[in-house]
């Protein structure tokens, strides 16, 4: 049975969130032990009622351990689990590089 956990201090439900900058790469989705991650547009989302932040299951949240983009998975305090620079700083969520090759045509 799933129980909702409350994080200490804030009284808020523990859940990670995927924010703008996610590149829909799918890496996180199959790893989530609670199937909390959903394919969505413009970017993937975490269903907060299902996310346990991987507590008990793993030493570290699995989605954040594989996400290739800095800053796109945040905790309930808005802190990035992969802060700027932590993955080499090149593939950051936002802002997009100036020379965006999207052709659109």
């Amino acid at each position: 049975m799933r129980t909702l956990r409350l994080s200490k201090g804030t009284g808020e439900k523990m859940a990670l969130e995927i924010v703008e900058g996610c590149v829909n790469c799918w890496a996180c989705l199959p790893l989530c032990p609670n199937e909390a991650i959903v394919e969505a547009h413009p970017h993937f989302l975490i269903e907060p009622s299902l996310c346990s932040e991987c507590v008990e299951a793993f030493a570290t949240p699995q989605c954040a351990a594989i996400c290739p983009v800095e800053g796109v998975i945040i905790d309930e305090l808005g802190q990035a689990l992969n802060p700027p620079g932590s993955l080499g700083g090149i593939i950051a969520g936002l802002p997009a590089p100036a020379a965006n090759p999207q052709v659109g045509a």
Partner: protein, 497 residues
């Protein structure tokens, strides 16, 4: 004068078949078992790639490592590089698409899963496609590509699925080199960074390679050549992987543009020049020649090698098709009949080559080698308009025969995008790509490019339209020889001038 093919017995006896640069001689040198496995594989056999088709289905989106030459952010529709696709398919869609393509293109003989992420980072999706196709189209060969990280864990499943070709991308066997290529991997439920990551990845790749070979599964190794990082190291990689039983080692150039947003693109890491690439391929020698026609297909490539008919089989078109068991059966029968006919033709050609008179000893040992570029849309013929060519096949003709060096991408018009340059600029870039060539063979060519090529020292030639490539290259070289253009001294003078 006739120039014998390098595949004739005489040239094979003149040097070891493994290093003389002859594709056909090498095919002959492979074990009968291996030969049988590769002979109708459009990606592996240079003879077969004119006749058979392959497709990749993009069912494996997730990836478990980061390479400095990849950025999963972009799906640029103008691009045709590995790991780039426009639509991710569900396993069910992938099966339907495969069956639809295999019914429409009876040459279809290979189905590959190569991404857009890593086939083995998506094991459930990958293996469910393989299982289903084995039931419904057992004549189609299955192959997969992987970075190798999860390979040892899945070798048993790969064998059970009857996969007979696996491609592993191995860029290094030295963790210090690896640390410059892979910033991190996902391993045992955590992210591992730096040298330790490279160490684990390399160990897994090598172990996986050994396990596959032990089970008799064909293994090809791909390497990305990154100048200044692994270029010198790749000769050692080549030696090791082939000693362990990889039957092909294919060196591909780094594709690196700032606008791709990859680490290498943004740090200004350049790719190799065509000459550097070729020098390394020559240095690694041997059976790589068979892979010189590798086009670095997109993970959703469809069709004959070098062509991509993906646009004819988008998912909405495929979903609209009715495919039932009877239809599947009939399509498979058509494929089997065609394959038998093609194999008989190839067999006859192989036999004819063995029987061919040996002329090399009579051929004068003079005339310098010449590189020629060919515009071809397939079938081994010179049958493409210069302006339509997305790539050129580069051949080298010399007194020793004709040898295929590999394909080169032509510069592309970017659909009128303002930042993609002018037509003029595109032509100039194509000319730069062909700088070492003296002749370009095509079915037709416009007036303007003709003049530009000629003044760049590349002679356009449309006289051999619709002829087989190797014969035409031979004929042109012989004419040049007769005209006295190939004297070594004359060339030296030319260079001095």
């Amino acid at each position: 004068m006739t120039i014998p093919h390098l595949g004739t017995p005489v040239s094979a006896s003149g040097c070891s078949a493994g290093s003389c640069g002859s594709k056909s001689a090498q095919m002959d040198a492979l074990s009968a078992d291996t030969l049988k496995k590769v002979q109708d594989h459009p990606c592996y056999s240079e003879e077969a790639h004119h006749h058979f088709a392959r497709m990749h289905v993009a069912v494996a989106p997730a990836c478990n490592i980061q390479c400095n030459y990849c950025n999963r952010k972009y799906d640029c529709s103008n691009e045709s590089r590995p790991g780039v696709v426009s639509e991710v398919l569900t396993p069910k869609q992938a099966v339907k698409k495969t069956l639809a393509v295999a019914a429409a293109i009876p040459q279809m003989s290979v189905l590959g899963i190569a991404g857009p992420g890593d086939a083995l980072a998506n094991p459930e999706r990958t293996f469910s496609v393989f299982r289903e196709l084995q039931q419904r189209a057992p004549d189609i060969k299955l192959c997969l590509s992987t970075n190798g990280l999860m390979l040892p864990e899945y070798v048993a499943q790969i064998a059970a699925a009857n996969v007979d070709h696996v491609t592993i991308t191995i860029n290094c066997i030295d963790p210090d080199v690896g640390a410059q290529i892979y910033p991190w991997i996902f391993w045992n439920h955590r992210r591992v960074m730096g040298r330790e990551a490279a160490e684990i990845l390399i160990a897994q790749q090598q172990k996986g390679l050994e396990m596959l070979v032990a089970r008799g599964i064909l293994v090809k190794v791909n390497s990305v050549m990154i100048p200044g990082i692994n270029d010198a190291h790749l000769q050692e990689v080549s030696r090791v992987v082939r000693a362990k039983g990889a039957f092909l080692h294919n060196v591909m150039p780094l594709i690196s543009e700032a606008e791709h947003g990859t680490h290498f693109g943004l740090t200004g890491q350049r790719g190799p020049t065509p000459e550097e690439l070729q020098t390394l391929q020559d240095a690694c020698a041997g059976d790589m020649n068979m892979m010189r026609h590798c086009r670095q297909c997109r993970a959703d490539a469809v069709g004959m090698l070098g062509e991509d008919r993906g646009a004819d089989f988008t998912m909405d078109k495929v979903e609209a098709m009715e495919i039932d068991a009877q239809f599947e059966q009939a399509a498979m029968q058509r494929r089997l009949a065609l394959r038998e006919a093609i194999n008989a033709e190839l067999e006859a050609k192989r036999n004819a080559r063995h029987a061919a008179p040996v002329l090399q000893f009579h051929a004068p040992k003079r005339g310098r080698p010449v590189h020629m570029a060919v515009a071809s849309s397939g079938g081994g013929l010179i049958n493409q308009h210069f302006g339509h060519a997305k790539e050129f096949l580069i051949y080298e003709a010399s007194s020793a025969g004709v040898r295929f060096l590999g394909p080169r991408k032509a510069a592309q018009y970017c659909g009128g995008e303002s930042d993609c340059g002018e037509a003029e600029n595109t032509l100039a870039r194509t000319i730069a790509v062909l700088a070492d060539c003296e002749v370009v063979l095509c079915s037709r060519i416009g007036f303007e490019p003709w003049g530009k090529l000629e003044s760049a020292g590349i002679m356009p030639n449309g006289e051999h339209a619709m002829e087989p490539i190797e014969e035409a290259v031979t004929a042109v070289w012989s004419e040049m020889l007769k005209a006295g253009k190939l004297d070594v001294a004359a060339f030296e003078d030319q260079k001095r001038a």
